[in-house]
Symmetry: C2
Subunit: 241 residues, 2 copies
DNA sequence: GAGTGGTCTAGACCACAAT
DNA sequence: TTGTGGTCTAGACCACTCC
């Protein structure tokens, strides 16, 4: 049986009182000295609990002024998680599969700045229960990832291969709305101009471009959802090993 | 002059070695005892630095096995920040303004479940340098926020008013692609069916629905961008007070 | 000046997992 | 069994900032 550490119990207690509305934004939380007495523990233990809450943005601590429940951000931005395609499909209880439609090794063009001199261009269709789910067009820099030239992208989709062989250190995502153009519409079984969600993703490894991918989702069939409270952010990226 | 705490200096040192690629995923980081010797400090100080890195997912700590540099997530999900409209416009150096197009107080319909018995329906056009930027349709529950009935939404846009008067404790966002329908297209100055990014946002306060809003952005003019490394998440929500 | 949090120490015992 | 991290103590000094 795993007992809950005291510092986490203290933090949870306070978090619950904030979440329930018992302690409203601006409410002054008991001082460390008072919490020491309440929980009968050393100051470091209380301090750790409060530091954790502060790091998560639930409370604001200021010397002399004490610790108060934080106000929600006034200009509230929010976060949406972009799921991995395969996880997304399997998470819906559907069977994931993919088809490699195109594979070309070629020099990079002027508008593909930063992708290195030679690259692979791929087109992959991702399917959920054998129905088209996403069309992905992807470039992989052979300067940064020369091994990609000999990878079998019919076996594993390029996204998964890259994560296993070329973990990124930096990424950029862009979400926009586009109309399905001729070829994309055909591949996805849509009529021309159907609104689609376009997810553009670029990654780098130590400053060198690894890949640049565009994924097009039928607008009606796919959307990005995020639900959270200020208490628990969606930043729960599971890390292996 | 503010000196950097030692625990943060230790964490930064290690972070830098990970980011630079000097310490690759799987690399075993010196033990706490070794770091104590290296920095000439107590174990608690080293421990705090490592605990911080662990909480941020940069390293994985296991008893007996030691601390190793984390592998990037295999099924990598990522996050995109949804900015506040006004900040977004002003951040681009444009002048923000807004027009209230519609304001109705009415009973809620069956498909507006959870919004309370009476609500306000609003339609607001957000402009950047006097050009249409977003059309927003919004419901506000008068059960949860009765003060909204007397608020002047021509002065402050409803989103800002709500954040000031009814901070949420829970939120849900949904991003999808839609074609501009007749009225939306007219308001935004688009032709019918133009692909648009639709941002749906619902918020709750202690379990009670506060608001439900749909914002439609011209697909060509707007997109969501997020750039980050695993080291520094985009989770940089500024908190007031 | 005094109250509050921020950091740090030099120990201690325990939990867990690899051997 | 033993090495490693996880937690905790009982102090200490300092940095801020409100009064």
């Amino acid at each position: 049986m795993d007992i809950e550490p005291l510092h986490r119990r203290i933090a949870s207690d306070i978090e619950r009182r904030i979440a329930s509305g018992e302690w409203r934004p601006g409410f002054r939380i008991p001082t460390e000295a008072e919490l020491m007495a309440e929980y009968g523990c050393a100051r470091m233990t209380v301090s750790r609990a409060m530091t954790d809450l502060s790091a998560r943005g639930l409370v604001v601590r200021r010397r002399r002024a004490g610790t108060v429940v934080a106000h929600p951000p006034v200009h509230s931005s929010a976060l949406v998680a972009i799921p991995d395609i395969q996880s997304e499909i399997e998470g819906r209880g559907l069977a994931y599969s993919h088809q490699l439609l195109l594979r070309i090794v070629r020099p990079s063009r002027a508008d593909e700045d930063g992708m290195g001199a030679r690259l692979i261009e791929l087109e992959t269709l991702h399917l959920a229960d054998a129905m088209p789910f996403t069309l992905e067009r992807r470039l992989i820099s052979l300067t940064t990832a020369p091994e990609a030239e000999h990878a079998d992208f019919t076996a594993a989709p390029p996204g998964g291969w890259l994560l296993a062989h070329m973990p990124w250190t930096e990424a950029e995502h862009r979400i926009s709305a586009v109309g399905a153009d001729g070829e994309t519409a055909t591949r996805l079984g849509l009529s021309d101009g159907t609104p689609c969600l376009r997810l553009e993703r670029r990654t780098w490894r130590d400053g060198l471009a690894v890949t640049w991918a565009w994924q097009t989702f039928p607008g009606a069939a796919y959307d990005l959802v995020a639900r959270f409270s200020p208490t628990q952010s969606p930043m729960k990226t599971p890390i292996k090993e």
